[in-house]
């Protein structure tokens, strides 16, 4: 948050012709490039980005899986149960929510289908889960992008729950 200046001065770039002179803003967007160098550069950048993201995400995935195996999901679900009512959801909906936050949407959907939820409840839970999921791994991604991953993950949790409360209220008004 230090103004609109780049975090670092333009460094050695992936494309050599640019590396010789400093890159003016937007230059990347303005010049069309010949096909072959573009294909090569794209592959190189893709592999490099993949490696960087993988290095951030795999340890985070390890941590998330470890927390699950240590029983953290059950503990958090017990905590979350009383809170679910403010979103018009039964306490049992805490399990898919916690699974989504700690692991991912797919894990949450499995647990969701075991619950007797109304159509509106499914929509509320879906919106919360869509905003707040995979917080550990995606927190690592945001961290890699140069922001505070913990802040953004907590923000997503808060924003997701707030959205759930609002949608539930809107359903109450509209029906």
């Amino acid at each position: 948050m230090s103004g609109d200046r780049p975090t670092q001065p333009p460094r050695q770039d992936d494309r050599r012709e640019e590396a010789r002179e400093p890159v003016p803003t937007q230059a990347v967007l303005l010049e069309p490039r010949p096909l072959r160098p573009a294909l090569l550069a794209g592959t190189r950048i893709g592999v490099r980005t993949f490696a960087e993201m993988a290095l951030a995400m795999v340890p985070a995935y390890f941590a998330a899986l470890l927390l699950e195996k240590l029983g953290v999901i059950d503990v958090l679900s017990d905590w979350a149960e009383p809170v679910m009512g403010v979103m018009g959801l039964p306490g049992s909906a805490a399990l898919p929510l916690v699974l989504a936050c700690l692991l991912n949407i797919y894990a949450a959907i499995g647990a969701m289908q075991a619950l007797p939820l109304s159509g509106e409840q499914i929509t509320v839970l879906a919106i919360v889960i869509l905003i707040s999921h995979n917080l550990i791994v995606e927190g690592a991604v945001v961290h890699k992008a140069g922001m505070n991953g913990v802040f953004f993950s907590l923000l997503r949790l808060a924003a997701g729950l707030t959205a759930g409360i609002i949608v539930n209220l809107l359903f109450g008004i509209l029906s």
Binding site: M1, T7, Q26, L29, G46, M112, L130, A145, F152
Partner: protein, 156 residues
């Protein structure tokens, strides 16, 4: 198999799933971007998308990472953010605003469809989430900007 063994096995399988999928998506995205950025149709697309995001305080240079993240997922948008920060085309304030927006809404197709498939309302899942992403980006962005400004003023 022992508990540790089965844990490691699950970790390896999960890592494999995560990595091959990411590789198969991220390399073609970067190749397509390198080939298309700068071409007329891509610039028109980026400009149109940037116009939609301008009210949130996002500049035209953020069009590519936000579009990739919005469509495909946070990890891919994040990858393009890392690329563009390295190139020096976007600053910290823009990265912060993009992270806000993409935190609230990303992988709009895949994530939304699997929840619509289990019974969620498509109108609410798409409509509300996009509106909500705008509200959160504006609110938190404004608060953060005010805090930074005050902090700077105090330090002189």
């Amino acid at each position: 198999m022992s508990a540790v063994g089965s844990f490691l096995w699950e970790f390896l399988r999960g890592t494999w799933d995560l990595l091959w999928k990411m590789f198969v998506i991220i390399v073609p995205i970067m190749v397509i971007l390198e080939v298309s950025e700068g071409r007329r149709w891509f610039r028109a697309l980026a400009r149109g998308w940037a116009r939609l995001l301008r009210p949130l305080g996002l500049s035209e240079e953020t069009a590519t990472p936000t579009l990739v993240g919005f469509l495909f997922g946070l990890a891919y948008g994040g990858g393009v953010i890392v690329r563009d920060v390295r190139r020096g085309t976007i600053g910290r304030r823009q990265v912060f605003l993009m992270s806000l927006f993409l935190s609230m809404v990303h992988a709009i197709v895949e994530d939304s469809l699997i929840l619509i498939a289990v019974g969620a309302s498509a109108v609410w899942v798409f409509g509300f989430r996009i509106v909500w992403a705008g509200i959160v980006t504006l609110l938190v962005g404004a608060v953060a900007t005010a805090l930074v400004r005050r902090h700077r003023k105090r330090r002189g």
